[in-house]
């Protein structure tokens, strides 16, 4: 029965946030709900899914547990950050914002639980709408434009995903005689699904959920959305939303693989993985806006995720490991970038230099995050990114491996140039200088996130790695 509370708690929190009149109180409600959510998640994950609420429609399998864990912790960090952040932005009403935040949490949780394709879809759609609201927090022209684009592209994507879902259902109707959409059924009897429908459905679902993930060339909403939303929203999108979309894609992949179309699916994933990395690299080099830069970095890492799956075998484990690393590292980067943005009242290199001088801690964290995300030890992403390479070479895909390394190098150059330009040097002396400086409430959450990233690189807890292995086996990897 407990898993349901995972959904109920945030939704109740959302309700409370909506009803409470005081702007000052709401952030605390968000934080409280997040804390309860995380606590419960930890309990349930420790129970390894035993005697949790278990219906044919909602169940917490190993894959779901993994993603739930990541999203819940990331959300807790972001919620903690929000307390300080919304205090700074006291001039803005935050009722809708807080409500949407918790709604987002509830719906992503539902994504991790859903065992039914349509539930999954409904939940994804709901997250789309919730995020649309979050993006519009700043309420200026730029954020409006970003929101509009996100809404249009996201809705179209999700619509395609729906059609894909229906195709799969129809395939089931033809193959199994009943239009079941339950993952276990579909996987168990996948061999009887008619191949053309499976392939077509996968194409639609890939494009649909790929749009949500932000795989090139469906990535176009990302730079605008991440660029204009508050850093904390960026963190939630890059670490949470994309991850849940990836989860959806994984569930589909599992069916397609079981249906004997795994090779077809992996080919497409390989292609999109490399393409996303390439597009991201091309647009990162010479990037003058450090928040858009992070958006492209997110695109790149989505590419790495699907690349890992596309390689298969050991690549699946690497990809799942990278889910964790990417989420928390993105948290560090976006939150730190948010602080720098506040401290300079700009996110373009023309105005932002020498952040180390103005906000030493945030800038330091930004650099650390940069080294982490580009795969420098001792941070976690090093192992997942190396893992993808190991898988590629291990499966004799030397070309893929070479391209992967080449693109990593390009990305490093593009990202490094901008990040260092932001952090090093001497800050411009602007008379109207922002009053924003490092403060505990706005840096401790980031430190926590970085701590997790570091932990993933130095000491992966045994239960976690067990969970990872279970999830990898669940997906037919090693």
């Amino acid at each position: 029965m407990m898993a349901v509370y995972l959904i109920v708690i945030p939704l109740l929190g959302a309700l409370a946030a909506f009803l409470v009149p005081a702007d000052r109180v709401r952030p605390w409600i968000v934080a409280a709900a997040a804390a309860m959510h995380t606590a419960l998640t930890l309990v349930i994950v420790r129970m390894r899914g035993k005697d949790v609420y278990d219906s044919s429609w909602l169940r917490l399998d190993s894959l779901g547990r993994l993603v739930l864990l990541v999203i819940s912790i990331l959300f807790l960090i972001c919620a903690a950050y929000c307390v300080g952040y919304l205090h700074v932005r006291a001039n803005r009403p935050n009722r809708i914002f807080c409500t949407a935040l918790l709604g987002f949490l509830g719906m992503t949780t539902l994504v991790t639980l859903a065992q039914h394709l349509t539930i999954l879809w409904v939940a994804m759609e709901a997250t789309t709408l919730a995020t649309a609201v979050l993006l519009y927090f700043n309420q200026n022209r730029r954020s409006l434009e970003a929101t509009w684009k996100y809404l249009m592209i996201g809705s179209v994507g999700i619509a395609l995903a729906l059609l894909g879902t229906l195709f799969l259902a129809y395939g089931a109707l033809l193959g199994l005689g009943e239009p079941t959409l339950l993952f276990p059924d579909l996987v168990r009897r996948a061999t009887r699904l008619p191949v053309p429908w499976v392939r077509t459905a996968f194409v639609f679902l890939l494009v649909g959920y790929g749009t949500k993930m932000g795989l090139a060339p469906m990535h176009t909403w990302k730079p605008d959305a991440y660029g204009e939303a508050p850093g904390v929203v960026g963190a939630l999108l890059a670490g949470g939303l994309t991850t849940s979309a990836f989860l959806a894609l994984l569930r589909i992949y599992r069916i397609v693989d079981a249906a004997g179309q795994g090779r077809f699916a992996r080919e497409l994933l390989l292609f999109f993985g490399l393409l996303s990395m390439a597009v991201a690299a091309a647009l990162m080099i010479g990037q003058r806006d450090f928040k858009r830069l992070l958006a492209y970095s997110s695109i790149e890492h989505m590419g790495i995720l699907v690349l890992g799956i596309g390689i298969g075998g050991a690549g699946i484990f690497a990809a799942l490991l990278h889910v964790i690393n990417n989420a928390f590292t993105k948290g560090v980067l976006f939150l730190a970038a948010g602080n720098i943005h506040r401290a300079f009242k700009s996110k373009r290199l023309e105005d932002v230099t020498g952040a180390l001088r103005r906000v030493p801690l945030s800038a330091g964290l930004f650099v650390a995050g940069f080294f982490a995300i580009t795969g420098s030890p001792p941070f976690g992403p090093f192992f997942s990114e190396l893992g993808v390479l190991i898988a590629a070479i291990g499966s004799h895909r030397y070309i893929v491996g070479a391209l992967y390394l080449l693109l990593l190098a390009l990305v490093f150059i593009g990202m490094g140039a901008t990040v260092l330009a932001v952090v090093l040097g001497v800050p411009p002396d602007d008379p109207a200088g922002s009053a924003f400086r490092d403060s505990a409430s706005k840096t401790i959450p980031i430190l926590a996130a970085l701590g997790l990233v570091l932990m993933m690189g130095i000491w992966i807890p045994a239960p976690l790695s067990a969970l990872l292995h279970a999830a990898a086996r669940f997906l037919g990897g090693s």
Binding site: I153, G401, A462
Partner: protein
């Protein structure tokens, strides 16, 4: 025991900088801690050179990782100079970068971590640990180079260094993963010849960049010039040796590396030794000059390795031994005299607040100890007897000469002969370069006010140079005593040739000769000094010109002009300023600068061209939502077409 001591050393070095974070007072702990670590570590290495390989294992719950440290003779051989330089550098920094100065805490912290990670990397038995520590060294080194990031020049240098070293790291990823694929383990296991070739060529990129071998040297001059001097000393002395260590380690895993690879090493080594010194001659920035000499010496070391490989693959073990031994001994020697030069040169810079040699001059009278240290270092790096540089070069010369005495040798072996003239040219150019450097910096009369009022550096900084100076002299005078250590390291590096000849016997006569030369020269100098004590002093005669001014002195640029012009085809100079031909020329400014050909004339232009091309990719993100939706539908249709077939 040895491993324990080394680990203790590592830990002490690593934590040496941490107290500084807590409180400025605690910064005083940094030097004692790192020196203690250095002593412990050196003791450990000394034991490790003779004891059987000591293995330490800790569980490390990460994929593929195992915290496995294995201190064999080779590791100990490479780790020893790291500890020595760490100690010297730590002591030097105490006053060179006082707590009052900006970034003092971070300099101490990163310095400690860098040296500790460096030793850990050298001692790592697990390739993942190797990569991790490798990258930690690279990143901390970058942070140290960027210490004075307010200066644009420093930012640029640091950035170029970061990118190059990351490319090296990615290449290393490939190397390690290929090794894993070939051997199935994450340890340094023998590599089957089937995949040896790929591993070797990738390794050449990774380690070549790290070592600053031409044409991968682009990052080195800038980085070493911009870093704090004690950091430059460690980077030049030991960090770039990571590349050499990696190369030697990987080669030791491959039985019968292809001769072609040896030839490549040989030629690359020769090229970077000659051009390294040529570029050095063209510099007017003291630290850039020293940096280019690092490229030269890396070239000499790699040449030695090349000799070893070629000779070994044509089974001439005795020649191979000479090559390997020369290379390894030069690894030690270079760390010693190069760090000595950076510390003493750094002291001069510290005293006069400029790196421009043409603004210095006459420092020998104001800071005699520093000058003496620099002079010794200069003599050593030039390879003059009776100092250590001579010994290693002597071994390499011998290899070249031995190659020609062999009857009817194969073509690659004949290439070995090139070593002799190459070393000869390099040596002579290095001599010119260091006469210029020492002369313009320390001799003559001060070229500016601030130099005229320079003072000798505090005792602790001088004390930091002492052990290095001593080591240079010791190896120069007692090479036979060092031979056994060399032999132990060789047994790991090149087991098949290690026993080919007895190094001790080989080095015995040159040792005697060196002692005699040293003695006679010393006596002669002392006698002459005594004879001319209290001699009358007068202004420099200068052919009767009795108004000599400091500005009339030969500058470093004019000193090197002839040779620089000689290499003009490879390193065109940029000359700004009027050529004054008229009878009474007015005041004019003249400056000449020789940019790095590979970086400034080849790499950067092509990179910027590439960036411009990438600029077209920005059209993707045109801002029109309709276009974005078009991407989606086109992708969909394309995939449908693909899936239907």
């Amino acid at each position: 025991m040895s491993a324990t001591l080394v680990l203790a050393g590592i830990v002490l070095c690593a934590i040496s900088g941490l107290p500084a974070l807590a409180h400025r007072r605690a910064m005083l702990l940094a030097a004692p801690l790192i020196i203690a670590g250095a002593i412990a570590g050196l003791a450990g290495c000394a034991l490790g050179l003779f004891a059987a390989p000591a293995i330490v294992n800790f569980p490390w719950p990460v994929p593929g990782g195992a915290f496995q440290v294995r201190l064999d003779a080779l590791s100990a051989f490479f780790a020893a100079p790291v500890f020595l330089l760490a100690g010297a550098g730590g002591l030097y920094a105490e006053r060179y970068w006082p707590a009052t100065r900006g970034g003092a805490a971070s300099v101490r912290m990163f310095f400690g971590i860098m040296t500790a990670a460096l030793v850990l990397m050298i001692a790592a038995a697990n390739t993942i640990l190797f990569v991790v520590t490798w990258e930690i060294v690279a990143v901390t080194a970058f942070l140290l180079v960027a210490t004075e990031h307010e200066l644009p020049e420093t930012r640029r240098a640091a950035w170029i260094y970061l990118v190059s070293s990351h490319v090296a790291t990615l290449a290393l990823f490939a190397v390690v993963v290929l090794m894993h694929a070939a051997t199935g383990t994450w340890t340094f296991a023998p590599i089957p010849s089937s995949s040896a070739r790929a591993v070797l060529w990738l390794a050449l990129i990774a380690f070549g960049i790290k070592a600053g071998l031409m044409p991968f040297h682009i990052w080195l001059p800038g980085a070493h010039a911009s870093a704090p001097s004690h950091v430059s000393a460690v980077m030049s002395g030991v960090v770039i040796k990571m590349g050499i260590y990696g190369l030697v380690r990987v080669l030791s895993l491959i039985d019968g590396a292809p001769s072609s690879f040896g030839v490549t090493l040989l030629l690359a080594g020769i090229a970077s030794s000659i051009f390294g010194v040529a570029f050095a001659l063209a510099q007017h920035d003291l630290k850039r000059l020293l940096a280019y000499h690092s490229i030269e010496n890396i070239g000499i070391i790699v040449t030695g390795l090349g000799i070893g490989l070629v000779a070994q693959s044509h089974n001439m073990p005795s020649i191979a031994l000479l090559g390997y031994a020369g290379a390894l001994l030069h690894v030690w020697n270079h760390s010693l005299f190069k760090s000595l030069l950076f510390l003493s040169g750094g002291a001069a810079i510290h005293a006069v607040h400029t790196r421009e040699m043409d603004r210095m001059g006459g420092l020998a009278r104001r800071m005699p100890a520093t000058a003496a240290a620099f002079l010794a270092g200069a003599a050593a790096i030039t390879g003059l007897p009776p100092l250590n540089g001579f010994i290693s070069e002597w071994l390499l010369y011998l290899a070249g000469f031995a190659a020609i005495t062999r009857p009817a040798a194969a073509a690659p072996v004949l290439l070995l002969i090139l070593v002799v003239p190459a070393l000869a040219l390099t040596g002579a150019l290095a001599l010119a370069c260091f006469v210029k450097a020492f002369g313009t910096v320390f001799l003559g009369v001060p070229r500016s006010e601030v130099v005229a009022h320079a003072h000798e550096v505090p005792p602790s900084m001088r004390a930091a140079m002492a052990p290095l100076l001593f080591a240079c002299v010791f190896i120069g005078l007692a090479p036979a005593a060092v031979a056994p250590l060399l032999g132990r390291a060789l047994q790991i590096a090149a087991p098949r040739v290690a026993g080919a000849a007895n190094l001790t016997d080989l080095l015995q006569p040159i040792q005697t000769a060196a002692v005699i030369v040293a003695g006679v020269c010393a006596i002669a100098v002392v006698l002459l000094l005594a004879a001319t004590r209290g001699a009358r002093r007068a202004v420099t005669w200068d052919c009767g010109y009795n108004e000599p001014t400091a500005r009339m002195q030969y500058t470093s640029s004019s000193f090197a002009r002839g040779l620089v012009a000689f290499f003009g085809w490879a390193m065109p100079a940029e000359v700004h300023g009027p050529r004054a031909f008229e009878l009474f020329p007015g005041a004019a400014k003249f400056e000449s600068h020789v940019p790095d050909t590979v970086l400034e004339r080849a790499l950067l232009p092509s990179l910027s061209r590439g960036e411009r091309l990438l600029g077209y990719a920005r059209a993707i993100q045109s801002g029109r939502v309709q276009l974005y939706l078009l991407y989606v539908v086109l992708t969909l249709l394309a995939l449908l077409a693909w899936s239907a077939q």
